[in-house]
């Protein structure tokens, strides 16, 4: 028996932490070649997100978790996800008042008075992971692209920082990282979802308003959810084929 106590404890720890197939995959991840992990095939997945407006309480948990998980700078303007608060006067639907103090990172302070007749609701925003994404089409150096499993990613080693993609995104989801001067954006927690975890924002959402979905998995509850609810995407007129599906999205939301 050449397995010593240390090796046994390591193996046992890994087995408890990550059972079965995940243990196998972990060895590849640690070895720096996660693509060769046996239990993740990119073409078997087509990732998207469900956001349920009716459940969003504006806690800002998702904004904080996203910044912590993805090392996003804390400065104003650098967000991979943020929460907007809409205040709509029912007599003037064309001019909703929208605020998002620090992206909702510190939560929201009260700005109205109860019974002032305004319709108020929270809208979490993020990269819409478009199937036909405008931002990847304009990149001159192939630094941003759609992965085989449908996630829009940025290759920081190739990005020149030309900002074409920042302007091309109709949802305002990209920013320039002030440390590297390269474009950055939501990766749909690609480093998590390819290991069987959910995104950081879905993980910490206290009401389950955000859910990662795999549209290629026939057992994913997303199919029933889209069938059973009145679903909308942002700016469908731009034909971006967004994969972030909103339930309860008000028509005034831009």
């Amino acid at each position: 028996m050449d397995q010593n106590r240390r090796a046994f404890l390591q193996d046992a720890g890994k087995f408890i932490l990550l059972t079965g197939a995940a243990t196998l995959a972990w060895d590849y991840v640690v070895a720096g070649a996660p693509e060769q992990a046996p239990n993740y095939t990119a073409t078997d997945h087509w990732w998207g997100m469900i956001i349920d407006i009716d459940k969003c309480i504006g806690s800002g948990n998702c904004v904080r978790a996203c910044k912590a998980e993805n090392d996003v700078p804390l400065e104003e303007g650098c967000f991979r996800t943020w929460v907007e608060r809409y205040r709509v006067d029912p007599d003037d639907l064309d001019h909703p008042r929208v605020d998002s103090p620090n992206g909702g990172y510190d939560g929201f302070a009260e700005i109205g008075t109860p019974g002032d007749g305004m319709k108020v609701f929270f809208v979490p925003k993020m990269c819409n992971q478009c199937a036909d994404s405008p931002c990847t089409q304009v990149c001159p150096v192939g630094a941003t692209f759609r992965s085989p499993d449908g996630v829009i990613l940025v290759d920081k080693t190739r990005c020149l920082g030309c900002r074409y993609c920042v302007q091309a995104c109709p949802y305002g989801c990209r920013y320039i990282d002030p440390r590297t001067h390269t474009a950055d954006k939501c990766t749909l927690c690609y480093h998590r979802i390819t290991k069987g975890l959910t995104t950081a924002c879905s993980e910490v959402c206290p009401t389950g308003a955000r859910q990662l979905v795999d549209l290629k998995n026939p057992k994913d509850p997303v199919h029933a959810f889209i069938r059973d609810h009145k679903i909308h995407v942002l700016k469908p007129n731009l034909a971006t084929r967004s994969k972030v599906y909103y339930n309860g999205l008000d028509g005034v939301v831009r």
């Binding site: 408890i16 192939g142 993980e203 910490v204």
Partner: protein, 178 residues
């Protein structure tokens, strides 16, 4: 004859410059474009691996429950709510489930992958009023089924007791009789 050759030499010179330029272009291209560029599309295939290899901060509830099963599912108080399903071990009526049952651990305790790598590090923080009020402060726009409180009014009714949320509300079993 000599004239024609003389003119051809001009063309050869131009051709040589062009050929040299083309060779220089091929050389520069092979040096500048990564070898795995274009395997899946107009991008560097290795970027997928680079992004997958980024470190994780939030470990996920499954990792927490491995060690802390009794914390997550503590001994039930008398008023725990409706009966448990005998086989599934879950509350039959989720509305009466007196737990923060929809919450994942790290929604309140913060990112804990470092704690999982080394249990001495980043010991989970405990609840503070600010943490509770982040979700439960009365705020226009919050869904009506979200339990909300106006701290000032709540304190007024019993100023002695109502200073710390957790002195009455157990964080994992937040409902009280009061």
């Amino acid at each position: 004859m000599g004239d024609r050759f003389h003119h051809a030499r001009h063309l050869l010179r131009v051709g040589a410059v062009l050929a040299l330029g083309f060779v220089a272009f091929l050389f520069a291209r092979s040096a500048l474009v990564p070898s795995d560029f274009g395997v899946y599309g107009y991008y560097r295939a290795g970027a997928l691996n680079d992004i997958r290899a980024l470190p994780i901060a939030y470990a996920g509830r499954a990792a927490c429950v491995d060690c802390h099963e009794d914390t997550y599912d503590p001994p039930e108080p008398e008023d725990a709510g409706s009966a448990k399903h005998p086989a599934l071990g879950i509350r039959l009526d989720p509305a009466k489930d007196n737990r923060h049952s929809k919450l994942r651990c790290e929604a309140c305790h913060g990112p804990l992958q470092k704690h999982i790598d080394d249990t001495e590090k980043d010991v989970p923080k405990v609840a503070s009023n600010g943490l509770c009020l982040g979700c439960h402060r009365l705020l226009i726009g919050r869904p009506k089924d979200q339990p909300q409180v106006a701290p000032a009014d709540h304190k007024k009714s019993d100023p002695q007791k109502r200073t710390e949320c957790v002195s009455c509300h157990k964080p994992h079993w937040p409902k009280t009789d009061a």
